[in-house]
Subunit: 223 residues, 2 copies
DNA sequence: ATCAATAATTAGACATGTCTAAATATCTTT
DNA sequence: AAAGATATTTAGACATGTCTAATTATTGAT
């Protein structure tokens, strides 16, 4: 049983992991293909290789699920990715919208203790620049009690921006434009039934948050 | 003309660059094969691809030489590699013998401005942990006037350790064992004609430096 | 100048990861 | 339950980078 995993293998595991966070049950071929912008045929090919390495459980025509070892690899990658993102923002001064692609590469650097040393250097941060939790060396992490702005039971009162569901530059630039960053406090005024857009105030200034944003923004209520 | 260069292509360019530093004229197929631990046949294959991309000038049966664009790519890689080595030693606390392999991976991360930001974060260092010069953003660097200990005209008086010719762990561990680090001052006592080993003192303590070490250690004389 | 040793190239193969097009399985609707 | 729509897999191909074995070129010694 070899220990080396190619960059492609790693990216597949990470994709499956992330998709499983947002959905119960098996992850389907087409979902993975969409996520990684490849063909379903390529995904089937790769899935077989992952199953042969015992990194996923594969039910043909149904989908896959990470095994214990597969989950471990994915978690380590997520940890590395998010720590590098913190490094890029905190130490190198990058904007939060510019770090994902670089971390996408840095996460694959293999070394016994690089990730742990990086974590120590950064002061063992618990969240990345997009509000996503950083697993510790044992793979444990705690999700802050956050919910998508679009799924709040009552659109009323103060909430705090806790994270992003998507990390594309299109999205972060949109947020920059609206003046929303991690930690921003929104004073919710109500929801427009017509298009589900949300009325809010930031520091007293009125703001209209489109549904496309609300469904990708995690917030926590402030009691 | 595509801009993307694979990791393999990059490693070949870097290898050719380094070999050209220690030797005049064309770099031969076999030399590259030895350096990268591959077969001469593979090197010939790759050389043709490099030549097709105008990264080397190739004379069949004779050897290769980097072109201007090839030299630029190689220099940027060297710059990135050495900056990462500084980061790993200065910020993450690695030993100088442990950073080469990790930097070998980090150097390939592609981004417009990552290298420049890293350089700024590190305070624009001029030398890496092994004493090798770090090219600036324009590819310029200055070699300190150093010479291999084995090639000193007179083995006598004070010299300062300025760098290593090889960076293998076998070598750095050997140096650690002898108590030699970058900047160590050696008080040279003479050379043993029998095996070219060198007698020296470090801070008053006697030390015998084998020829195998002397031929891989750069020093500068202290007037 | 010729021959043997050395160096380099070519031929043919393989592994990995990807693709398109065709075939097959599953799901959804009537 | 059958048909059509959708999802998945298979077949066959290609690009990249590597290898061994065979062939060819160059070099060095007599
Ligand atoms: Mn990646
Ligand atoms: Mn992130
Ligand atoms: Mn490398
Ligand atoms: Mn170095």
């Amino acid at each position: 049983m070899s220990k080396y995993l190619s960059r492609s293998v790693q990216d597949y595991l990470k994709a499956i992991y992330s998709m499983a966070q947002h959905k119960a049950g098996l992850i389907q071929t087409t979902e993975i293909a969409d996520r990684l912008t490849t063909s379903p045929a390529s995904v089937t090919d790769m899935i077989k290789k992952l199953a042969a390495k015992d990194l996923v459980d594969y039910t043909p025509y149904k989908g896959v699920k990470l095994t214990k070892p597969g989950l471990k690899v994915a978690t380590e990658l997520i940890r590395s990715h998010r720590l590098w993102e913190v490094f890029l923002v905190e130490k190198l001064g990058y904007d939060w919208g510019d770090v994902h692609e670089i971390a996408e590469q840095l996460e694959h650097v293999v070394s016994d203790d690089l990730t742990d040393r990086l974590a120590a250097f950064l002061g063992h941060p618990s969240y990345d620049p997009h509000g996503d939790p950083i697993p510790d060396a044992q793979g444990r992490y705690r999700l802050s009690n956050r919910v998508l702005l679009s799924q709040l039971p009552r659109v009323d009162g103060l909430v705090k921006v806790q994270g992003l569901k998507t990390h594309t530059q299109d999205f972060t630039q949109y947020l920059d434009q609206l003046g929303i960053v991690l930690g921003t406090q929104l004073d919710l005024q109500g929801i427009n039934a017509f298009d589900k857009s949300i009325r809010a105030q930031i520091a007293g200034t009125d703001l209209l948050i489109p549904a496309s944003i609300a469904s990708n923004l995690y917030v926590s209520t402030i009691q």
